[in-house]
Amino acid sequence: MDMIIATLWLALAFVLSLAGCAMLAMTQKPHWRAITDSKSNPPKTAIPGWLCIAAALVPCIIRDGISFAMLLWPLIFALAAFSIAMTLTYKPSLMRPFSALLRS
Protein backbone atom coordinates (compact mmCIF):
# COMPACT_ATOMS: atom_id res chain seq x y z
CA MET A 1 0.00 0.00 0.00
CA ASP A 2 2.79 2.40 0.96
CA MET A 3 4.46 1.64 -2.32
CA ILE A 4 1.32 2.43 -4.30
CA ILE A 5 0.93 5.77 -2.55
CA ALA A 6 4.62 6.58 -3.10
CA THR A 7 4.23 5.74 -6.78
CA LEU A 8 1.13 7.92 -7.01
CA TRP A 9 2.99 10.91 -5.54
CA LEU A 10 5.75 10.32 -8.05
CA ALA A 11 3.22 10.11 -10.88
CA LEU A 12 1.58 13.33 -9.69
CA ALA A 13 4.95 15.13 -9.71
CA PHE A 14 5.59 13.86 -13.22
CA VAL A 15 2.14 14.84 -14.52
CA LEU A 16 2.46 18.33 -13.03
CA SER A 17 5.89 18.74 -14.65
CA LEU A 18 4.51 17.42 -17.91
CA ALA A 19 1.62 19.88 -17.84
CA GLY A 20 3.98 22.69 -16.94
CA CYS A 21 6.38 21.86 -19.76
CA ALA A 22 3.47 21.53 -22.20
CA MET A 23 2.20 24.98 -21.25
CA LEU A 24 5.67 26.47 -21.61
CA ALA A 25 6.12 24.83 -25.00
CA MET A 26 2.75 26.13 -26.18
CA THR A 27 3.81 29.73 -25.72
CA GLN A 28 6.19 29.23 -28.65
CA LYS A 29 4.60 29.87 -32.01
CA PRO A 30 6.07 26.91 -33.97
CA HIS A 31 5.10 24.43 -31.26
CA TRP A 32 1.61 25.87 -30.86
CA ARG A 33 0.99 25.75 -34.59
CA ALA A 34 2.30 22.19 -34.82
CA ILE A 35 0.01 21.09 -32.01
CA THR A 36 -3.17 22.80 -33.15
CA ASP A 37 -2.42 22.60 -36.85
CA SER A 38 -3.75 26.15 -37.16
CA LYS A 39 -2.46 29.64 -37.80
CA SER A 40 -3.74 31.01 -34.50
CA ASN A 41 -1.50 32.78 -32.03
CA PRO A 42 -0.09 30.93 -29.04
CA PRO A 43 -1.77 31.36 -25.63
CA LYS A 44 -0.02 33.16 -22.78
CA THR A 45 0.49 30.18 -20.51
CA ALA A 46 4.05 30.77 -19.36
CA ILE A 47 3.14 31.74 -15.78
CA PRO A 48 0.75 28.83 -15.13
CA GLY A 49 3.38 26.61 -16.74
CA TRP A 50 6.06 27.72 -14.31
CA LEU A 51 3.57 27.39 -11.45
CA CYS A 52 2.84 23.78 -12.40
CA ILE A 53 6.54 22.99 -12.52
CA ALA A 54 7.02 24.63 -9.12
CA ALA A 55 4.00 22.74 -7.76
CA ALA A 56 5.61 19.44 -8.74
CA LEU A 57 8.03 20.02 -5.88
CA VAL A 58 5.20 19.52 -3.36
CA PRO A 59 4.47 15.82 -4.04
CA CYS A 60 8.25 15.23 -4.14
CA ILE A 61 8.60 16.71 -0.64
CA ILE A 62 5.57 14.84 0.69
CA ARG A 63 6.92 11.58 -0.72
CA ASP A 64 10.57 11.75 0.29
CA GLY A 65 11.28 14.84 2.38
CA ILE A 66 13.04 18.01 1.34
CA SER A 67 16.49 16.45 0.98
CA PHE A 68 15.46 13.85 -1.58
CA ALA A 69 12.99 16.23 -3.21
CA MET A 70 15.83 18.56 -4.16
CA LEU A 71 17.20 15.74 -6.32
CA LEU A 72 13.95 14.21 -7.49
CA TRP A 73 12.33 17.44 -8.66
CA PRO A 74 14.90 18.60 -11.26
CA LEU A 75 15.30 15.08 -12.60
CA ILE A 76 11.56 14.57 -12.98
CA PHE A 77 11.46 17.93 -14.72
CA ALA A 78 14.18 16.72 -17.10
CA LEU A 79 12.24 13.58 -17.93
CA ALA A 80 9.04 15.57 -18.48
CA ALA A 81 10.81 18.14 -20.65
CA PHE A 82 12.34 15.37 -22.73
CA SER A 83 8.96 13.67 -23.14
CA ILE A 84 7.37 16.93 -24.31
CA ALA A 85 10.24 17.61 -26.72
CA MET A 86 9.93 14.15 -28.24
CA THR A 87 6.13 14.45 -28.51
CA LEU A 88 6.52 17.79 -30.28
CA THR A 89 9.02 16.23 -32.66
CA TYR A 90 7.22 13.05 -33.57
CA LYS A 91 3.55 13.41 -32.68
CA PRO A 92 2.53 16.95 -31.71
CA SER A 93 -1.13 16.14 -32.35
CA LEU A 94 -1.07 14.06 -29.13
CA MET A 95 -1.05 17.33 -27.26
CA ARG A 96 -4.14 18.67 -29.04
CA PRO A 97 -6.67 17.67 -26.34
CA PHE A 98 -4.56 19.51 -23.79
CA SER A 99 -4.37 22.60 -25.97
CA ALA A 100 -8.17 22.52 -26.41
CA LEU A 101 -8.48 22.39 -22.64
CA LEU A 102 -6.37 25.53 -22.34
CA ARG A 103 -8.33 27.40 -24.98
CA SER A 104 -11.71 26.84 -23.39
Binding site: L10, C21, L24, A25, Q28, P30, H31, D64, S67, F68, M70, L71, L72, P74, L75, I76, F77, A78, L79, A81, F82, I84, A85, M86, L88, T89
Partner: protein, 538 residues
Protein backbone atom coordinates in the same frame (compact mmCIF):
# COMPACT_ATOMS: atom_id res chain seq x y z
CA UNK B 1 26.24 43.47 -18.17
CA UNK B 2 25.27 43.49 -21.79
CA UNK B 3 26.20 40.40 -23.80
CA UNK B 4 28.01 41.81 -26.78
CA UNK B 5 28.61 39.91 -29.96
CA UNK B 6 32.30 40.03 -29.18
CA UNK B 7 31.78 38.44 -25.78
CA UNK B 8 29.60 35.75 -27.30
CA UNK B 9 32.27 35.01 -29.86
CA UNK B 10 34.97 34.57 -27.25
CA UNK B 11 32.67 32.30 -25.23
CA UNK B 12 32.06 30.32 -28.40
CA UNK B 13 35.77 29.92 -28.91
CA UNK B 14 36.17 28.77 -25.31
CA UNK B 15 33.27 26.33 -25.58
CA UNK B 16 34.59 24.84 -28.81
CA UNK B 17 38.16 24.29 -27.76
CA UNK B 18 37.59 23.34 -24.14
CA UNK B 19 35.04 20.88 -25.51
CA UNK B 20 37.41 19.37 -28.03
CA UNK B 21 40.11 19.07 -25.37
CA UNK B 22 38.13 17.15 -22.75
CA UNK B 23 35.09 15.62 -24.47
CA UNK B 24 36.62 12.19 -24.92
CA UNK B 25 37.54 11.99 -21.24
CA UNK B 26 34.20 13.42 -20.20
CA UNK B 27 32.40 10.78 -22.19
CA UNK B 28 34.36 8.03 -20.43
CA UNK B 29 33.54 9.57 -17.05
CA UNK B 30 29.84 9.97 -17.85
CA UNK B 31 29.58 6.49 -19.32
CA UNK B 32 31.31 4.77 -16.44
CA UNK B 33 29.43 6.95 -13.97
CA UNK B 34 26.14 5.85 -15.50
CA UNK B 35 27.20 2.22 -15.12
CA UNK B 36 28.42 2.85 -11.57
CA UNK B 37 24.88 3.90 -10.63
CA UNK B 38 24.11 0.18 -10.81
CA UNK B 39 27.48 -1.13 -9.66
CA UNK B 40 26.13 -3.63 -7.11
CA UNK B 41 23.59 -4.94 -9.60
CA UNK B 42 26.38 -5.44 -12.15
CA UNK B 43 28.35 -7.23 -9.41
CA UNK B 44 25.52 -9.67 -8.89
CA UNK B 45 25.13 -10.19 -12.61
CA UNK B 46 28.83 -10.95 -12.97
CA UNK B 47 29.08 -13.02 -9.78
CA UNK B 48 26.03 -15.27 -9.89
CA UNK B 49 26.86 -16.75 -6.47
CA UNK B 50 25.87 -13.41 -4.93
CA UNK B 51 22.46 -13.27 -6.55
CA UNK B 52 19.87 -13.14 -3.86
CA UNK B 53 16.64 -11.30 -3.34
CA UNK B 54 17.00 -8.77 -0.50
CA UNK B 55 15.91 -10.33 2.78
CA UNK B 56 16.23 -9.65 6.48
CA UNK B 57 19.31 -11.15 8.07
CA UNK B 58 18.64 -14.02 10.44
CA UNK B 59 22.26 -14.74 11.38
CA UNK B 60 23.38 -12.12 13.90
CA UNK B 61 26.52 -10.01 13.68
CA UNK B 62 28.15 -12.04 16.45
CA UNK B 63 27.27 -15.37 14.77
CA UNK B 64 29.12 -14.15 11.71
CA UNK B 65 32.01 -12.16 13.15
CA UNK B 66 33.14 -13.96 16.30
CA UNK B 67 34.09 -17.34 14.74
CA UNK B 68 36.25 -15.51 12.20
CA UNK B 69 37.74 -13.10 14.75
CA UNK B 70 38.71 -15.97 17.03
CA UNK B 71 39.61 -18.28 14.16
CA UNK B 72 41.31 -17.41 10.89
CA UNK B 73 41.56 -13.67 11.69
CA UNK B 74 43.07 -14.30 15.14
CA UNK B 75 46.46 -12.82 14.27
CA UNK B 76 45.20 -10.15 11.89
CA UNK B 77 45.98 -6.54 12.76
CA UNK B 78 42.91 -5.39 10.87
CA UNK B 79 39.36 -6.60 10.60
CA UNK B 80 36.29 -5.15 8.94
CA UNK B 81 32.74 -6.14 8.35
CA UNK B 82 29.91 -4.57 6.35
CA UNK B 83 26.26 -5.29 6.97
CA UNK B 84 23.84 -6.67 4.39
CA UNK B 85 21.78 -3.90 2.81
CA UNK B 86 19.09 -3.68 0.18
CA UNK B 87 21.49 -3.68 -2.78
CA UNK B 88 24.14 -5.93 -1.23
CA UNK B 89 22.35 -8.79 0.45
CA UNK B 90 25.49 -10.41 1.96
CA UNK B 91 27.74 -9.73 4.90
CA UNK B 92 31.25 -8.91 3.75
CA UNK B 93 34.11 -9.67 6.13
CA UNK B 94 37.80 -8.92 5.60
CA UNK B 95 41.08 -9.49 7.44
CA UNK B 96 44.79 -10.00 6.88
CA UNK B 97 45.72 -13.68 6.64
CA UNK B 98 48.89 -15.45 7.79
CA UNK B 99 50.72 -14.63 4.54
CA UNK B 100 50.09 -10.93 5.04
CA UNK B 101 47.48 -10.83 2.31
CA UNK B 102 44.09 -9.22 2.61
CA UNK B 103 41.34 -11.78 2.54
CA UNK B 104 37.65 -11.10 2.06
CA UNK B 105 34.60 -13.35 2.24
CA UNK B 106 30.91 -12.90 1.58
CA UNK B 107 28.53 -14.51 4.04
CA UNK B 108 24.92 -15.39 3.46
CA UNK B 109 22.90 -13.54 6.12
CA UNK B 110 20.25 -16.27 6.22
CA UNK B 111 22.37 -19.35 6.63
CA UNK B 112 25.70 -17.96 7.83
CA UNK B 113 27.39 -19.88 5.01
CA UNK B 114 30.50 -18.50 3.35
CA UNK B 115 30.09 -17.82 -0.34
CA UNK B 116 32.99 -17.82 -2.78
CA UNK B 117 31.96 -15.55 -5.63
CA UNK B 118 33.35 -15.68 -9.15
CA UNK B 119 36.62 -13.80 -9.21
CA UNK B 120 35.96 -10.52 -10.97
CA UNK B 121 36.38 -6.80 -10.41
CA UNK B 122 32.89 -6.35 -11.82
CA UNK B 123 30.90 -3.19 -11.15
CA UNK B 124 32.21 -1.99 -7.81
CA UNK B 125 35.90 -2.55 -8.48
CA UNK B 126 36.17 -1.96 -12.21
CA UNK B 127 33.44 0.27 -13.67
CA UNK B 128 33.06 2.35 -10.53
CA UNK B 129 36.75 3.27 -9.95
CA UNK B 130 37.10 3.82 -13.69
CA UNK B 131 34.57 6.63 -13.29
CA UNK B 132 36.89 8.74 -11.12
CA UNK B 133 40.41 7.35 -11.63
CA UNK B 134 40.37 5.96 -15.20
CA UNK B 135 42.50 3.18 -13.66
CA UNK B 136 45.64 5.17 -14.42
CA UNK B 137 48.66 4.82 -12.12
CA UNK B 138 49.97 7.40 -9.63
CA UNK B 139 46.74 9.32 -9.38
CA UNK B 140 47.09 10.69 -12.93
CA UNK B 141 43.51 9.64 -13.62
CA UNK B 142 42.18 11.69 -10.69
CA UNK B 143 43.82 14.78 -12.11
CA UNK B 144 42.55 14.16 -15.64
CA UNK B 145 39.04 13.64 -14.30
CA UNK B 146 39.38 16.69 -12.04
CA UNK B 147 40.60 18.85 -14.88
CA UNK B 148 37.80 17.59 -17.11
CA UNK B 149 35.26 18.36 -14.37
CA UNK B 150 36.45 21.95 -14.10
CA UNK B 151 36.36 22.17 -17.88
CA UNK B 152 32.82 20.83 -17.81
CA UNK B 153 31.74 23.64 -15.49
CA UNK B 154 33.40 26.11 -17.86
CA UNK B 155 31.63 24.44 -20.80
CA UNK B 156 28.24 24.75 -19.15
CA UNK B 157 28.64 28.44 -18.32
CA UNK B 158 30.08 29.33 -21.73
CA UNK B 159 27.45 27.16 -23.40
CA UNK B 160 24.64 29.14 -21.80
CA UNK B 161 26.14 32.40 -23.08
CA UNK B 162 26.51 31.24 -26.66
CA UNK B 163 23.04 29.68 -26.79
CA UNK B 164 20.97 32.37 -28.51
CA UNK B 165 17.45 31.06 -28.08
CA UNK B 166 17.35 29.18 -24.81
CA UNK B 167 13.63 29.70 -24.22
CA UNK B 168 12.55 29.48 -27.82
CA UNK B 169 14.45 26.28 -28.58
CA UNK B 170 14.07 24.63 -25.20
CA UNK B 171 11.75 21.85 -26.40
CA UNK B 172 12.99 21.79 -29.97
CA UNK B 173 14.40 18.80 -31.80
CA UNK B 174 14.23 18.75 -35.61
CA UNK B 175 15.66 15.45 -36.89
CA UNK B 176 14.42 16.15 -40.41
CA UNK B 177 16.24 19.43 -40.75
CA UNK B 178 19.76 19.85 -42.01
CA UNK B 179 22.19 17.49 -40.35
CA UNK B 180 24.15 20.15 -38.51
CA UNK B 181 20.96 21.69 -37.22
CA UNK B 182 19.56 18.46 -35.81
CA UNK B 183 22.89 17.60 -34.19
CA UNK B 184 22.93 20.98 -32.50
CA UNK B 185 19.29 20.59 -31.45
CA UNK B 186 20.09 17.33 -29.76
CA UNK B 187 23.11 18.87 -28.04
CA UNK B 188 21.05 21.82 -26.78
CA UNK B 189 18.13 19.67 -25.72
CA UNK B 190 20.13 17.16 -23.71
CA UNK B 191 22.23 19.87 -22.06
CA UNK B 192 19.40 22.22 -21.18
CA UNK B 193 16.80 19.85 -19.79
CA UNK B 194 19.19 18.21 -17.33
CA UNK B 195 21.26 21.33 -16.73
CA UNK B 196 21.17 21.17 -12.90
CA UNK B 197 22.32 17.55 -13.06
CA UNK B 198 25.13 18.30 -15.52
CA UNK B 199 26.31 21.15 -13.32
CA UNK B 200 26.04 19.56 -9.89
CA UNK B 201 27.79 16.32 -10.82
CA UNK B 202 31.18 17.66 -11.88
CA UNK B 203 30.95 20.10 -8.98
CA UNK B 204 30.21 17.48 -6.31
CA UNK B 205 32.78 15.19 -7.91
CA UNK B 206 35.40 17.85 -7.29
CA UNK B 207 34.08 18.40 -3.76
CA UNK B 208 34.33 14.68 -2.91
CA UNK B 209 38.05 14.69 -3.70
CA UNK B 210 38.73 18.18 -2.35
CA UNK B 211 41.72 16.93 -0.40
CA UNK B 212 43.36 15.66 -3.61
CA UNK B 213 42.66 18.75 -5.67
CA UNK B 214 43.25 21.28 -2.91
CA UNK B 215 45.74 19.65 -0.56
CA UNK B 216 47.25 22.88 0.72
CA UNK B 217 44.40 23.90 3.00
CA UNK B 218 45.02 20.91 5.22
CA UNK B 219 48.75 20.60 4.50
CA UNK B 220 49.66 23.67 6.55
CA UNK B 221 47.72 23.13 9.80
CA UNK B 222 48.57 19.41 10.00
CA UNK B 223 52.05 19.52 8.48
CA UNK B 224 51.27 16.54 6.29
CA UNK B 225 50.25 14.36 9.21
CA UNK B 226 47.32 12.44 7.72
CA UNK B 227 46.32 10.74 10.95
CA UNK B 228 46.00 14.05 12.70
CA UNK B 229 44.11 15.47 9.76
CA UNK B 230 41.57 12.65 9.70
CA UNK B 231 41.19 12.84 13.46
CA UNK B 232 40.35 16.54 13.21
CA UNK B 233 38.14 16.22 10.16
CA UNK B 234 36.24 13.00 10.73
CA UNK B 235 36.95 11.99 14.33
CA UNK B 236 39.18 9.03 13.49
CA UNK B 237 41.18 7.81 16.45
CA UNK B 238 44.78 6.82 15.92
CA UNK B 239 46.31 4.38 18.38
CA UNK B 240 49.75 2.95 18.86
CA UNK B 241 50.52 -0.71 19.35
CA UNK B 242 51.42 -1.74 22.88
CA UNK B 243 52.79 -5.17 22.01
CA UNK B 244 50.57 -6.83 24.62
CA UNK B 245 48.06 -9.50 23.60
CA UNK B 246 44.63 -8.38 22.49
CA UNK B 247 41.59 -8.38 24.77
CA UNK B 248 38.92 -10.91 23.95
CA UNK B 249 35.95 -9.35 22.23
CA UNK B 250 32.90 -11.09 23.62
CA UNK B 251 30.32 -9.36 21.46
CA UNK B 252 30.26 -6.83 18.66
CA UNK B 253 26.49 -6.59 18.84
CA UNK B 254 26.71 -4.75 22.17
CA UNK B 255 28.86 -2.04 20.56
CA UNK B 256 26.47 -1.84 17.63
CA UNK B 257 23.53 -1.37 20.01
CA UNK B 258 25.30 1.38 21.94
CA UNK B 259 26.35 3.26 18.81
CA UNK B 260 22.92 2.99 17.22
CA UNK B 261 21.30 4.32 20.40
CA UNK B 262 23.59 7.38 20.43
CA UNK B 263 23.16 8.08 16.72
CA UNK B 264 19.40 7.62 16.71
CA UNK B 265 19.05 10.35 19.33
CA UNK B 266 21.42 12.58 17.39
CA UNK B 267 19.77 12.04 13.99
CA UNK B 268 16.25 12.17 15.39
CA UNK B 269 15.48 8.94 13.50
CA UNK B 270 16.65 5.33 13.73
CA UNK B 271 20.27 4.93 12.64
CA UNK B 272 22.05 1.74 11.65
CA UNK B 273 25.66 0.64 11.80
CA UNK B 274 26.87 -0.11 8.27
CA UNK B 275 30.51 -0.83 8.93
CA UNK B 276 32.54 -2.23 11.80
CA UNK B 277 36.30 -2.06 11.64
CA UNK B 278 38.86 -3.06 14.22
CA UNK B 279 42.29 -1.48 14.18
CA UNK B 280 45.20 -3.26 15.92
CA UNK B 281 42.91 -6.23 16.36
CA UNK B 282 45.82 -8.32 17.66
CA UNK B 283 46.97 -5.82 20.28
CA UNK B 284 45.87 -4.67 23.73
CA UNK B 285 45.21 -1.19 22.34
CA UNK B 286 42.72 -2.47 19.75
CA UNK B 287 39.92 -0.08 18.94
CA UNK B 288 36.59 -0.67 17.31
CA UNK B 289 35.20 1.88 14.88
CA UNK B 290 31.53 1.83 14.00
CA UNK B 291 30.25 3.89 11.11
CA UNK B 292 26.98 4.91 9.61
CA UNK B 293 28.33 5.25 6.08
CA UNK B 294 25.27 5.12 3.87
CA UNK B 295 21.94 5.73 5.58
CA UNK B 296 19.13 4.34 3.45
CA UNK B 297 16.71 7.21 4.05
CA UNK B 298 19.00 10.26 3.89
CA UNK B 299 21.03 11.90 1.17
CA UNK B 300 23.92 12.70 3.50
CA UNK B 301 26.52 9.97 3.83
CA UNK B 302 29.05 9.23 6.60
CA UNK B 303 26.94 10.96 9.20
CA UNK B 304 28.18 9.20 12.30
CA UNK B 305 31.31 7.50 13.51
CA UNK B 306 32.07 6.28 16.99
CA UNK B 307 35.31 4.68 18.16
CA UNK B 308 35.40 2.36 21.17
CA UNK B 309 38.34 1.03 23.11
CA UNK B 310 38.17 -2.76 22.79
CA UNK B 311 39.67 -3.46 26.22
CA UNK B 312 37.56 -1.15 28.38
CA UNK B 313 34.58 -0.63 26.08
CA UNK B 314 34.88 3.16 26.58
CA UNK B 315 34.15 5.63 23.83
CA UNK B 316 37.42 7.07 22.54
CA UNK B 317 35.98 9.37 19.92
CA UNK B 318 32.51 10.34 18.88
CA UNK B 319 32.50 13.58 16.99
CA UNK B 320 29.16 14.86 15.72
CA UNK B 321 29.54 16.45 12.31
CA UNK B 322 29.82 20.22 12.22
CA UNK B 323 28.27 22.40 9.52
CA UNK B 324 31.23 21.99 7.16
CA UNK B 325 31.23 18.23 7.32
CA UNK B 326 27.43 18.11 7.09
CA UNK B 327 27.52 20.13 3.90
CA UNK B 328 30.24 17.92 2.49
CA UNK B 329 28.27 14.83 3.53
CA UNK B 330 25.15 16.01 1.71
CA UNK B 331 26.97 17.04 -1.44
CA UNK B 332 29.02 13.87 -1.67
CA UNK B 333 26.03 11.75 -0.66
CA UNK B 334 24.02 13.01 -3.59
CA UNK B 335 26.87 12.02 -5.90
CA UNK B 336 27.38 8.56 -4.33
CA UNK B 337 23.64 7.69 -4.22
CA UNK B 338 24.00 4.82 -1.81
CA UNK B 339 20.60 5.57 -0.31
CA UNK B 340 17.56 3.44 -0.97
CA UNK B 341 15.61 5.13 -3.75
CA UNK B 342 15.01 3.22 -6.94
CA UNK B 343 13.23 6.10 -8.62
CA UNK B 344 16.24 8.35 -8.13
CA UNK B 345 18.62 5.58 -9.16
CA UNK B 346 16.89 5.16 -12.53
CA UNK B 347 16.61 8.91 -13.03
CA UNK B 348 20.36 9.25 -12.37
CA UNK B 349 21.04 6.52 -14.91
CA UNK B 350 18.88 8.22 -17.54
CA UNK B 351 20.37 11.65 -16.80
CA UNK B 352 23.86 10.14 -17.03
CA UNK B 353 23.08 8.71 -20.45
CA UNK B 354 21.64 12.07 -21.52
CA UNK B 355 25.02 13.53 -20.54
CA UNK B 356 26.65 10.94 -22.82
CA UNK B 357 24.40 12.06 -25.69
CA UNK B 358 25.18 15.70 -24.93
CA UNK B 359 28.93 15.10 -25.17
CA UNK B 360 28.73 12.90 -28.25
CA UNK B 361 26.44 15.30 -30.12
CA UNK B 362 28.70 18.21 -29.21
CA UNK B 363 31.67 16.45 -30.76
CA UNK B 364 29.67 15.57 -33.84
CA UNK B 365 28.45 19.10 -34.28
CA UNK B 366 32.05 20.29 -34.27
CA UNK B 367 32.98 17.75 -36.96
CA UNK B 368 29.99 18.77 -39.10
CA UNK B 369 30.89 22.43 -38.79
CA UNK B 370 34.48 21.72 -39.77
CA UNK B 371 33.51 19.69 -42.81
CA UNK B 372 31.24 22.46 -43.99
CA UNK B 373 34.08 24.92 -44.00
CA UNK B 374 36.10 22.95 -46.55
CA UNK B 375 35.11 20.73 -49.42
CA UNK B 376 37.34 17.83 -48.49
CA UNK B 377 37.52 16.38 -45.02
CA UNK B 378 40.19 18.19 -43.07
CA UNK B 379 42.70 16.06 -41.20
CA UNK B 380 41.51 17.57 -37.90
CA UNK B 381 38.10 16.01 -38.49
CA UNK B 382 39.62 12.60 -39.17
CA UNK B 383 41.69 12.75 -35.99
CA UNK B 384 38.83 13.93 -33.80
CA UNK B 385 36.50 11.39 -35.37
CA UNK B 386 38.91 8.54 -34.71
CA UNK B 387 39.32 9.56 -31.08
CA UNK B 388 35.58 10.09 -30.70
CA UNK B 389 34.65 6.72 -32.13
CA UNK B 390 37.17 5.01 -29.88
CA UNK B 391 36.06 6.80 -26.75
CA UNK B 392 32.33 6.75 -27.48
CA UNK B 393 31.26 3.58 -29.28
CA UNK B 394 34.60 1.96 -28.40
CA UNK B 395 34.13 2.17 -24.66
CA UNK B 396 30.51 1.03 -24.93
CA UNK B 397 31.64 -1.95 -26.97
CA UNK B 398 34.46 -2.87 -24.61
CA UNK B 399 32.13 -2.59 -21.59
CA UNK B 400 29.88 -5.09 -23.34
CA UNK B 401 32.85 -7.30 -24.17
CA UNK B 402 33.81 -7.22 -20.49
CA UNK B 403 30.41 -8.65 -19.55
CA UNK B 404 30.56 -11.29 -22.30
CA UNK B 405 34.07 -12.33 -21.23
CA UNK B 406 32.88 -12.65 -17.66
CA UNK B 407 30.17 -15.12 -18.70
CA UNK B 408 32.39 -17.11 -21.11
CA UNK B 409 35.33 -17.56 -18.74
CA UNK B 410 34.63 -20.47 -16.38
CA UNK B 411 34.22 -19.43 -12.75
CA UNK B 412 37.18 -21.63 -11.76
CA UNK B 413 39.42 -20.32 -14.53
CA UNK B 414 42.97 -20.08 -13.19
CA UNK B 415 44.08 -17.34 -15.52
CA UNK B 416 46.82 -17.27 -18.08
CA UNK B 417 50.39 -15.96 -18.22
CA UNK B 418 50.39 -15.14 -14.53
CA UNK B 419 47.19 -13.14 -14.77
CA UNK B 420 44.36 -14.34 -12.60
CA UNK B 421 40.77 -14.50 -13.72
CA UNK B 422 39.76 -10.99 -12.67
CA UNK B 423 42.71 -9.41 -14.50
CA UNK B 424 42.12 -11.54 -17.58
CA UNK B 425 38.69 -9.95 -17.94
CA UNK B 426 40.24 -6.51 -17.67
CA UNK B 427 42.81 -7.38 -20.33
CA UNK B 428 40.01 -8.31 -22.73
CA UNK B 429 38.30 -5.00 -21.97
CA UNK B 430 41.40 -3.04 -22.92
CA UNK B 431 42.20 -5.17 -25.97
CA UNK B 432 38.72 -4.58 -27.36
CA UNK B 433 38.99 -0.89 -26.55
CA UNK B 434 42.35 -0.50 -28.29
CA UNK B 435 41.02 -2.47 -31.24
CA UNK B 436 38.09 -0.06 -31.50
CA UNK B 437 40.51 2.87 -31.89
CA UNK B 438 42.49 1.02 -34.56
CA UNK B 439 39.29 0.06 -36.31
CA UNK B 440 38.17 3.71 -36.23
CA UNK B 441 41.49 4.84 -37.68
CA UNK B 442 41.26 2.36 -40.55
CA UNK B 443 37.57 2.52 -41.38
CA UNK B 444 36.90 6.20 -40.74
CA UNK B 445 33.26 7.14 -40.81
CA UNK B 446 32.03 3.60 -41.44
CA UNK B 447 33.40 2.62 -38.04
CA UNK B 448 30.39 4.26 -36.34
CA UNK B 449 28.03 1.89 -38.09
CA UNK B 450 30.19 -1.18 -37.72
CA UNK B 451 30.76 -0.61 -34.03
CA UNK B 452 27.05 -0.03 -33.51
CA UNK B 453 26.41 -3.49 -34.98
CA UNK B 454 29.11 -4.93 -32.76
CA UNK B 455 27.55 -3.29 -29.69
CA UNK B 456 24.17 -4.80 -30.52
CA UNK B 457 25.67 -8.26 -30.98
CA UNK B 458 27.66 -8.00 -27.75
CA UNK B 459 24.69 -6.86 -25.70
CA UNK B 460 22.51 -9.70 -26.98
CA UNK B 461 25.33 -12.19 -26.47
CA UNK B 462 25.66 -11.05 -22.85
CA UNK B 463 21.97 -11.70 -22.21
CA UNK B 464 22.11 -15.10 -23.93
CA UNK B 465 25.27 -16.13 -22.07
CA UNK B 466 23.78 -15.10 -18.75
CA UNK B 467 20.82 -17.35 -19.54
CA UNK B 468 23.03 -20.26 -20.60
CA UNK B 469 25.49 -20.07 -17.70
CA UNK B 470 23.07 -19.32 -14.86
CA UNK B 471 19.61 -20.22 -16.15
CA UNK B 472 18.32 -16.80 -15.08
CA UNK B 473 16.67 -15.34 -18.14
CA UNK B 474 14.69 -12.17 -17.39
CA UNK B 475 11.43 -14.02 -16.71
CA UNK B 476 12.80 -16.59 -14.28
CA UNK B 477 14.95 -13.92 -12.65
CA UNK B 478 11.92 -11.71 -12.06
CA UNK B 479 9.93 -14.69 -10.79
CA UNK B 480 12.63 -15.33 -8.17
CA UNK B 481 12.59 -11.72 -7.09
CA UNK B 482 15.95 -11.07 -8.76
CA UNK B 483 14.81 -7.77 -10.24
CA UNK B 484 18.39 -6.54 -10.43
CA UNK B 485 19.24 -9.33 -12.89
CA UNK B 486 16.02 -9.06 -14.90
CA UNK B 487 16.40 -5.28 -15.24
CA UNK B 488 19.99 -5.54 -16.32
CA UNK B 489 19.12 -8.05 -19.03
CA UNK B 490 16.24 -5.89 -20.20
CA UNK B 491 18.46 -2.80 -20.34
CA UNK B 492 20.98 -4.81 -22.38
CA UNK B 493 18.24 -5.87 -24.79
CA UNK B 494 16.96 -2.30 -25.07
CA UNK B 495 20.53 -1.17 -25.68
CA UNK B 496 20.93 -3.75 -28.42
CA UNK B 497 17.78 -2.48 -30.16
CA UNK B 498 18.96 1.11 -29.89
CA UNK B 499 22.30 0.07 -31.42
CA UNK B 500 20.57 -1.81 -34.25
CA UNK B 501 18.39 1.22 -34.93
CA UNK B 502 21.49 3.43 -34.99
CA UNK B 503 23.42 1.06 -37.25
CA UNK B 504 20.56 0.81 -39.75
CA UNK B 505 20.09 4.56 -39.89
CA UNK B 506 23.81 4.99 -40.42
CA UNK B 507 23.73 2.39 -43.18
CA UNK B 508 21.05 4.34 -45.02
CA UNK B 509 23.11 7.50 -44.90
CA UNK B 510 24.37 9.11 -48.10
CA UNK B 511 28.13 9.23 -48.62
CA UNK B 512 29.38 12.48 -47.22
CA UNK B 513 30.94 14.82 -49.75
CA UNK B 514 31.46 17.72 -47.47
CA UNK B 515 29.30 20.39 -49.05
CA UNK B 516 26.44 21.97 -47.24
CA UNK B 517 24.00 20.68 -49.81
CA UNK B 518 25.07 17.09 -49.43
CA UNK B 519 24.89 17.39 -45.69
CA UNK B 520 21.35 18.67 -46.02
CA UNK B 521 20.55 15.71 -48.24
CA UNK B 522 21.63 13.28 -45.57
CA UNK B 523 18.91 14.57 -43.30
CA UNK B 524 18.45 12.81 -40.03
CA UNK B 525 21.76 11.01 -40.19
CA UNK B 526 23.30 12.67 -37.17
CA UNK B 527 20.60 11.43 -34.92
CA UNK B 528 21.38 7.71 -35.23
CA UNK B 529 25.01 8.49 -34.68
CA UNK B 530 23.97 10.12 -31.48
CA UNK B 531 21.61 7.36 -30.54
CA UNK B 532 24.68 5.24 -30.82
CA UNK B 533 26.19 7.13 -27.94
CA UNK B 534 23.08 6.64 -25.91
CA UNK B 535 23.14 2.89 -26.21
CA UNK B 536 23.10 1.61 -22.67
CA UNK B 537 25.14 -1.50 -23.45
CA UNK B 538 25.86 -1.86 -19.71
Amino acid sequence: MKITEDFRKSMGWLHTWAGIAVSCFLFMVFWMGSLAVFDSEIDQWMKPELRAAPTEASASIDDIALPILQGEANESPRFFMTMPRHRRPFYSVGWVNGDGEFERVQINPQTGEKVTPTESFAGTSFFYPFHYSLHLPDGIGYWIVGFSSVAMLVLIVSGIFIHRKIIKDFFTFRPKKQLRRSTLDLHNLTSMIALPFHFIFPLTGLIIFFSIYLPWASAVPFQGDDQEKFAAMFGNAAVEASGDPAPEIASLQSYVDRAEAIWSVRNGEPAKVDLISIALANDANANITLRETFPSRAVSMSRNMTVFDAASGDIISDAPAGPGRKTHAWLSGLHFIQFNSWSLRWLYFIAGLSGCVMIASGLMFWMRARIRKGVIEPRSVRVVRGLSIGSISGIILSSGAYLVTNRIMPAQYEGYLGLDRAYSEVVIFYLVWIASFIHAAIRGKAAWREQAWAIAATALAAVALNWITTGDHPVTAAAQGLWQIASMDLVLIAGAFAAIYAARKLGAQQPETGTDKAAAGAAGAAEPAMADAAVPAE
